[in-house]
Amino acid sequence: GVSCFLQTACQCLPGCDFGSSLPERALLLVLVLVFLQGSVLPLGAASSPDVSHQDKTDNHKVEAQGHNYTKKAFPVLSIDYHYIQTPFEISLWVLLASLMKLGFHLIPRLSSIVPESCLLIVVGLLVGGLIKLAGEQVPPVMNTRLFFLCLLPPIILDAGYFLPIRPFMENLGTILMFAVVGTLWNAFFIGGLLYAVCQIQPDNPSSLHQIELLPCLLFGSIISAVDPVAVLAVFEEIHINELLHILVFGESLLNDAVTVVLYHLFEEYSGIGTVSVLDGFLGVISFLVVALGGVLVGAIYGILAAFTSRFTSHTRVIEPLFVFVYSYMAYLSAEMFHLSGIMALIACGAVMRPYVEANISHKSHTTIKYFLKMWSSVSETLIFIFLGVATVDGPHNWNWTFVTVTVILCLVARVIGVVGLTYVINKFRIVKLTTKDQFIVAYGGLRGAIAFSLGFLLDPAHFAMREMFLTAIITVIFFTVFVQGMTIKPLVELLAVKKKQEAKRSINEEIHTQFLDHLLTGIEDICGHYGHHHWKDKLNRFNKKYVKKCLIAGERSKEPQLIAFYHKMEMKQAIELVESGGGVKLPAAMPSTVSMQNIQPKKPPPALPPERALPQLSKGREEEIRKILRSNLQRTRQRLRSYNRHTLVADPYEDGLNDFLIKKQKIIELEKKITEMNNYLTVPSAPPDSPTITRARLASDPQAYSVKPTSDSVPTIQVDLASPQSPDSVNLMDEFRNARQPEQDEDRGLMMKPPSEAKGPKRPEDAEGAKDQQRLMRCLSDPGPSADEDEDEPFLP
């Protein structure tokens, strides 16, 4: 029954389009709801005590043993739900989450008004409600272990791996102030005032009186932390400028250490009832240990991962695995020692990224990116749904006073904290935070599932008021996510807060930024001031001299930042060029058409006519190719193509690589020839295909890359590109460059050009050719529909 619904739902969804009429949409919604109903029942049924199942199986066994001489009818079809129960449930939840995500975007108006997180919580409420209505017991989904060990790490790793390092480091002081001092302030303010409020009402002795100070402070510390999941979910949709985003987000990540320490501190001593000064002092030390220890653990694992990735050039398939496993182990190791797992994960991702990216193939890079995004997306969805389900589950203890006071205090504490801290911080900042910025930072302090899980973790034996706490926590979470989450977008528009800019870094920005870095370092040295730039420069030097050599494989360790960036841009542009149908510039099929159809000389040229020159060029090129290939045939060994799961043999996509290299060389030369001979020679470019067509063409037909050889008699050699450094592989580009040199000299008699230093020893040429090949090979893959621009940023600015 469930699978039928699944199938029909899946068939229906892709078919629907936005312009469909209302009845169709209603039908879709009904289907989704029915599917929900259908899926919920097995979930509910499975969680109910299945003692009866157990009995039945036992009975069967006994029967079988007792009657093994009596022949039963062979069971053609039987159901054994118990066998697959747990994985099935998990898959069902994940599927539900994903379908919900799909569903929201089919209803266009809704997704622009209400942030996804709200919708997901509502779905969770619905599902929980349905389960309860069906009379089954709600599955305990908000299991704390499940949350902290399975659902949270992917989100944090995704955030940490793609953390924009430069703005983070530039604003680190501010972020730390908000995270540490701000959270402390929040915790004590809320906890203290709550206790005070609980103590008044002498005429109406309620259960509130029994709450001690320490549990209040504990509650304060749980509720005060800004939640990274909620912040990510909401801020992702509003696209504010980088500074505000990194401030709020950085704060939500770094306050984990504070939360961990405060939580453990108050939890330990709640039973005893008092906290001495010594304990407070130990708490401070504990905070330092937790924070720095977490970062250290993360950094160690990050370096291990970077080091491992240095040797993966022969087993490219498992490269992403190292990234994931090392990061997860960093998280688990930190959690083992009660250090801050979040900070460990962030440190691990941030440390390993520049080195790993220099070592792994481009395909692995894409894999890592997409896996992280996928897992974190699913995790986030599940977290919100579970929050809804757990809300329905209860148990609740609603106390008007407590809850309302909590909500109000949270808001008030946040505002006062932000304003006060900004006043202090602005004295030290170069670019000050304006009132608008402060408002957004205060308003963006969302609470989320971490607070709930921490509350859930409380021992009911020690804390009688656990349920009241949970109710209050859930109310605050709902309030912040729904009210603040929904209104922040219109408020951002209203206040005209600066939005995120299209961060497409140009080569100019790169050059000038580096130039300015050097300039500022020099000025600081002249002033004798060991400032920001001085230390950054020192770190860069250390990195270049020692660290890069250890952690990056081969030639890439010596590659300067600017060159890496430049090559990345060139590759991107080259891929775009080919995709947009710039193939008209290819000289391969061209010589005749270029010379005859497209050249319209205004007056007969006095010097070399273009018609003669171009065919001459191609003939000469032909000869060169033949010469090169003939001379190198002995050195090349044809490798047999056998399918092997453990090696990434070059696939047809990458086969076009060598041809591509040749083409590129030809393009460059042809352009040079053309510009120097005739300025009025224009080659009209083909009308660009629509992106979908080119993408489809490229995706489905890898042979789109290959070009017909200039002459059929030229033998083509298939080189196994899996190991570009092998001595057997031919560096065609390298040969080309060598072959080109003498021609350049004789042709460029009229051009003033400094003597090319490229005619150096052959070793750098080799290395360069190999480097370029390796680089091109790594880059030749689908750039992806929404290229993450932040990755273009160099590591250490």
Partner: protein, 174 residues
Amino acid sequence: MKISPAHIIRLYDRFEFLDKEGSGQLRLEDFAEVKELAMNPIGDRIIGAFFSPGQETVDFPSFVRILAHFRPTDKNRAKDSTQPEPVNSRTSKLKFAFQLYDQDRDGKISRAELLQVLREMLGMQVTEEQLESIADRAIQEADLDRDDAISFEEFRKSLEKVNIEHKMSIRFLR
């Protein structure tokens, strides 16, 4: 916002420290004494910026005037067009940086000048061809009026997304 007296005193102390001969003027050799500048790829340019064309020494007012470019910008300054542009405004900072590129002071960064800067920054690690490709591409991107050189306006435009007020400021000189 004027420089506070405390800062001027600090700068004067530094000036005296650099001025080994006690002549009240700094010469090229004094700047060369600063060890870290020797390692700086564009160290020579920076030193050259302190000396006005034709002069061989730098006195204290000029020293401070150059360093004043790097004071944090006062964002709340009223846009008063009658007053001259303060030396630490965004435009002035950019102009200072521009002049470091444009050594021959013709108001444009030519291809050769850009190549020279790239050569200094990247040094021995890259081939001449790569440098030329980068320079070509940079000019191609920034050069809007197709004169194969980058004027100040084009320079400013290519840096419009960079937070110059933050990047070119030293807190020390507030």
